[in-house]
């Protein structure tokens, strides 16, 4: 019988981990469907905004705080989480509430990653409980910090395998006055990636570049954000700069909604099949789609992030062969979720897991071996 534990303080969390006799599956909002074997350890009881200083662009929250609560608090001050985290619920058909701790633990970033950075770039500090039940802090709540090793980065994307986050501090940014998206119609994948490279290789500070394939109905989206006049100016400049790629261009009527669809991969919500997320250099994106044989594809990050929907059970990694990047299985089963690491890197990762969780009880088997 597995049981569910919901500590209401960091001390209690440490006690539970320290006393654990078997494996624990760490749960934030449970929206990712990443559960492994073992008793469920939920961070739901560790919730609340501890400090928010709009003038310092920083927020400190307990790990189980719902993302929605933070979004609302930030919106009141016209600020936001600039890494644009994806909401996985539609894609995975899960319920629950995404939590702040999971955003960091899984380094969840969306379209703006190419310009603003990933969750790991906005994480300023963490508190966590390691596999022995020891409470550890690293980083802090200031924007620049090189005091000792950066365990904040190590914890970002460690998916609960090195420790259970109890608190995270994040840098936030002002919301822009407005945004607009230039839509270039009818480009094939290769020209779309070239067009996105041209947009990002311009001085216009593009904050999103995605391509939804579809022959003549395909659309390539270029986003800019800022003050009204500046956005209008940049859209016109980009229109001129991209004229050589396609004559048919328009400006999106609802830029915000269009990017929410890219962020949450709405195009795959209804479709059956496994969902993969492949990170490569942008110019390699079109070839990934070709060799994947996938039924549906979506390019984000100017081509560097390829979302693929494949037949259930497809060994995508075997199809792609060796790639300079990584493929993560986001929906589906039968394959390892994370990309196998090179021997040298795997030895280091394993060594770190061994040191932070010597008993191998935290989300055991989720990453590496």
């Amino acid at each position: 019988m597995t049981q569910m534990m919901t500590p209401s303080s960091e001390a209690e969390l440490a006690q539970i981990v320290g006393d654990a006799k078997g494996p624990l599956t760490i749960q934030g909002g449970g929206t990712r469907g990443m559960a492994v074997d073992g008793d469920v350890l939920s961070t739901a009881g560790l919730s609340g905004i501890e400090l928010y200083e709009p003038g310092a662009l920083t927020i400190v929250v307990k790990a189980g705080t719902p993302v929605a609560e933070v979004d609302a608090a930030l919106a009141k001050e016209r600020q936001r989480l600039a890494f644009e985290p994806i909401d996985h619920r539609g894609l995975l058909g899960t319920k629950g509430t995404p939590t702040m701790g999971s955003l960091v633990a899984a380094n969840i970033s969306g379209p703006r990653r190419i310009q603003a950075g990933a969750a790991r770039d906005f994480a300023l500090g963490v508190r966590f409980v390691d596999g022995q039940g020891e409470i550890i802090k690293n980083g802090g709540r200031v924007m620049k910090n090189v005091t000792g090793y950066d365990l904040v980065k190590l914890m970002s994307g460690s998916h609960g395998t090195l420790g259970v986050l109890s608190e995270v501090s994040l840098k936030v940014l002002p919301m822009p006055e407005t945004e607009a998206t230039l839509m270039v119609h009818g480009l094939d994948n290769d020209s779309a990636v070239q067009a996105m490279a041209a947009a990002l290789g311009s001085p216009y500070d593009v904050t999103g570049a995605a391509h939804i394939p579809g022959g003549d109905a395909g659309v390539t989206m270029i986003r800019v954000e800022g003050f009204e006049a500046s956005v209008a100016y940049r859209i016109e400049q980009l229109r001129t700069a991209l004229a050589r790629f396609g004559t048919e261009m328009s400006v999106s009527e609802d830029s915000n909604a269009a990017w929410q669809d890219v962020r949450d991969v709405t195009a795959f919500h209804g479709a059956t099949g496994d969902v993969w997320r492949v990170s490569v250099k942008p110019s390699a994106g079109p070839d990934i789609v070709k060799s994947s044989g996938a039924e549906a594809a979506l390019f984000d990050w100017a081509g560097g992030l390829v979302w693929l929907c494949t037949e259930p059970g497809t060994d995508l990694r075997a199809r792609l062969g060796p790639i300079a990047g990584h493929a993560t299985l986001v929906r589906g089963s039968g394959q390892a979720r994370f990309h196998p690491e090179d021997a040298g890197v795997a030895t280091l990762s394993q060594g770190l897991r061994q040191r932070f969780d010597p008993r191998g009880i935290l989300n055991a088997g989720l990453m590496g071996s």
Binding site: G55, E134, I136, K144, Y149, D150, V280, L348, S349, G368
Partner: protein, 482 residues
């Protein structure tokens, strides 16, 4: 500053080690004559010096691997070195160490504009990375003031920042991949031209690890297209604290400048005498820079000026041309040099929440009076990264110690205010013994566990970052293993 006692056994082995190193490197790139090793006796923290046992200058990853394998087998400590501009003593040798300098490794290996990255050998200087791509309109964003001299190797090891990091981030936010040689000579490649790690974020861990986890030989760096233009506005104030409050208001207002720099009276007057930038006569000034087209710049500057006007400025000087911009930046850029002309100084690097700027500036003023040492403040105000410069006289008995004591008080103040000991210069030896003020023993233990994984014998730059007492057992193991 205490350093570990050098190992007699290792020093006794010098000739054999040198001989073996000469088997893998040409003789002129193995420096062992005590007259010549002196060139490596310190970095920019010149108060501390110690010539190494030997220094080597490899040119390829392969050579770095050969050197490390030999040192590993012989139990010889290694201190990696870029350009030696560390202000924290990060590249300070021990008498029993081999300095591994990457200065000869400065090639550009690949330039890719469509995917916006360059791959370089890490001995290349920061400025010459931008130099390699600027004709095509691109640049590498992190811009430490030492950028003419410092190497990408040191930037990665210290996770260096610069004036424009407010918008573009520091080194770790612009580093995409590295080739690194571990102490045992094995080579690992981490990251690359793609974004984010497929597994654990080892790249994020290596950046800022002060040369303790491996020797980084190659780096993939994100490059960006240059903005259409950039111009600053200079705002003078009667009062430090008011200037601090103005910074907070600008940030809250949603205008995000690329840089907000602060200078106090001592720095203003000293640089004025030195560089004659024509700064106003005032107690504090801010230099705020924005980017974009001419019209975009005008618009943003006018928003900033409007906010500044609410804080009783004594002068507002909006740059209208490249010439005026250069003049505004001239003083800020010469600040360290100017202070260096009038006095010895120690440059601190504590970082605080921007909201605490007024309080911390006031407390620093009080400490200055209490210790009887002058302090100048010149720093990156937008992200709270302070640089108090404590003036002292190196020739006066006890003055360095007094200065260090005062420095420690200021850094503790930064920690108490919710900040940290160092925002961009690193811990090195300088802040090593204060680590216990910011971190509990368990926090330090977790960091040292990371080093155990990468360098189990603790041979790489082991006397840095961690208080000697807390790393004692691990380093003792290194010697016992000989």
């Amino acid at each position: 500053m205490e350093m570990p006692v050098p190992s007699k056994t290792v020093i006794a082995r010098k000739s054999r080690v040198v001989e073996r190193l000469m088997e893998v490197l040409p003789a002129d790139r193995v420096i062992h004559d005590p007259m010549e090793t002196r060139a490596y006796e310190c970095d920019a923290l010149t108060a501390y010096r110690c010539p190494p046992m030997a220094a080597v200058l490899p040119e390829t990853t392969r050579e770095v691997s050969d050197v490390l394998r030999i040192c590993h087998q012989e139990g010889v400590p290694v201190v990696p070195r870029g350009s030696g501009t560390s202000l924290a003593g990060g590249a300070l040798p021990t008498a029993d160490c081999v300095i591994l300098g990457v200065a000869r490794m400065n090639d550009v290996l690949e330039t890719n504009y469509p995917d916006r990255y360059v791959r370089v050998q890490t001995g290349r200087t920061n400025l010459s990375v931008t130099g390699a791509v600027e004709e095509d309109g691109f640049f590498y964003a992190p811009d430490p003031s030492s950028q003419l001299a410092c190497a990408i190797a040191g930037n990665i090891a210290m996770n260096s920042g610069g004036a424009h990091c407010l918008k573009y981030g520091v080194t770790t936010n612009n580093l995409m991949g590295v080739t690194m040689v571990k102490m045992d000579g094995s080579v690992v490649t981490i990251g690359g031209a793609h974004l984010d790690a497929g597994g654990l974020d080892l790249l994020g861990l290596i950046c800022g690890s002060e040369g303790q986890l491996g020797v980084v030989t190659e780096a993939t760096l994100r490059i960006l297209h240059k903005p259409e233009g950039a111009r600053p506005v200079l705002v003078g104030f009667d009062d430090n604290e008011v200037a601090g409050a103005c910074v907070s208001d600008i940030i809250k207002a949603g205008v995000l400048p690329v840089a907000i720099e602060f200078m106090d009276r001592l720095c203003i007057e000293t640089t004025e005498n030195f560089a004659k930038a024509g700064y106003p006569d005032c107690n504090a000034l801010l230099i705020i820079e924005v980017e974009g087209s001419e019209a975009e710049i005008d618009d943003q500057l006018s928003r900033i000026v409007e906010i500044a006007k609410r804080h009783d400025p004594v002068e507002i000087r909006e740059s209208k041309s490249a010439e005026e911009s250069a003049k505004i930046w001239l003083g800020r850029k010469s600040a360290f040099g100017a202070i260096g002309q009038i006095s010895d100084y120690m440059c601190l690097d504590g970082t605080i929440p921007v909201s605490s700027l007024p309080m911390v500036l006031r407390r620093i003023g009080e400490l200055s009076e209490q210790f009887g040492l002058q302090v100048g403040n010149v720093f990156h105000a937008g992200d709270g990264n302070m640089h108090p410069l404590i003036l002292f006289d190196a020739n006066k008995e006890g003055d360095l110690e007094l200065c260090e004591d005062m420095g420690a008080e200021i850094l503790k103040l930064c920690v108490d205010a919710g900040g940290c000991l160092t925002g961009e210069h690193g811990v090195g030896i300088e802040k090593r013994d204060l680590m216990g003020y910011q971190y509990a023993p368990a926090d330090l233990e977790a960091q040292m566990a990371v080093k155990d994984v990468f360098d189990p014998q603790w041979l790489l730059n082991a006397a840095k970052v961690f208080p000697l007492a807390s790393s004692q057992e691990r380093r003792a193991d290194a010697i016992a293993a000989e």
